[in-house]
Symmetry: none
Subunit: 139 residues, 2 copies
DNA sequence: CATTAGGGATAGGGTTCT
DNA sequence: TAGAACCCTATCCCTAAT
C-alpha cells in the first residue's frame, strides 16, 4: 500500500531523544526544523516523531516482559548484530536506577517547565546517554 | 484458554475474498463492518482477516510462507524505499495489463485505483471465482 | 490552515497448534 | 517439516481539539 514501513534507525532515535532534550516533548515541529536534527530526521514527519516518542516511553516503562522474551531468545544461535540498530537502544536498555544529575546538552538547558511532568528521572538519564552518543558521533 | 483455534470455513474465506475485491486489500476493518460481510465474518477480527489474506496469497504464489520470505530476501537485498517516492515502485511492480474485466460485486464498483497495484492477474481471477461462488450462495 | 494528543488500524515478524 | 491460525508491537492513519 503506502510505504513499506520505515523502521527507525538508532541514529534517528538518538536524534529524536536529543531533540526532546533540547526543545521538550511535544515540540515535534520545532525539533524537525532544528538544523541540528533536520538532516537526520528529514524523512520523518512531526507526527512520526510524536508516535515514536510515545512508543519509546511505552516500552521503557513496561520493559520486563520484553526481558523475558529476550532471555528466551538468548538460547538461539546467532546474535547477529545489525550495524544500524545495535548501538543505542540496546545499550540504554540496561536500566538500573542511577543517581546522577541531568546533563546539559548542546543547544541549551532543559526546558524544565513541563518536561518534569513528561519525563521520569530514569528516562531522563537514558536520554542523556543517548544524546551524548548522538553528539559524539556528529562531532 | 485462549482460542481453541477456529478454522476458516469456505464461506468465510469467500467472504473475505469478496471483501478484498470490493474494498481493497488492507481495508480489513472496512470489510469487517460492511453489512455485506459482517454477518459471515462476525467472529473474526481485522487482524484475523489480514493474517488469513496473507496465508491465502502466500500459498497461492509460492506454496509456503517460508519460501516467500527466502525469495524476498534473495531478490530485494535492501529496498529502503523513501516515503516520498513510494507510489512509483509499487506501481511498476505489478504492471501487467489485464484484458479481463473485473466483476462488479453487489454493493458497488471496484475501487480500481489501488486495486491494480495490490492484486496480480492470477490472484484476480481466483478472486473473481471466489466472489461468484460467494454471491451464488447468498442469492 | 498548522500542529498535537490520543485512539485505532495495519504490516510484518514471530509463535503455537495441528 | 510444513502450513494454518494466532500473537506481538512498531509504525502508520484518522480525528478532535487547539
Amino acid at each position: 500500500m503506502g510505504a513499506p514501513k520505515q523502521k527507525w534507525t538508532a541514529e534517528e532515535e538518538a536524534a529524536l531523544k536529543a531533540g526532546v532534550l533540547k526543545h521538550g516533548a511535544g515540540k515535534w515541529r520545532t525539533i524537525l526544523t532544528d538544523p541540528e536534527f533536520s538532516a537526520i530526521l528529514h524523512m520523518r514527519s512531526n507526527v512520526d516523531l510524536k508516535d515514536k516518542w510515545r512508543n519509546i516511553n511505552v516500552t521503557a516503562i513496561w520493559g520486563s516482559r520484553q526481558k523475558a522474551k529476550l532471555a528466551l531468545k538468548r538460547n538461539l544461535p546467532a546474535p547477529k548484530i545489525d550495524n544500524n540498530h545495535m548501538a543505542l537502544s540496546t545499550v540504554v536498555r540496561h536500566d538500573e536506577v542511577l543517581d546522577t544529575k541531568p546533563l546539559a546538552v548542546s543547544g541549551g538547558p532543559l526546558q524544565s517547565t513541563n518536561l518534569k511532568e513528561q519525563i521520569s528521572r530514569l528516562q531522563k538519564i537514558k536520554l542523556n546517554i543517548s544524546a551524548i552518543y548522538y553528539l559524539m558521533k556528529r562531532n
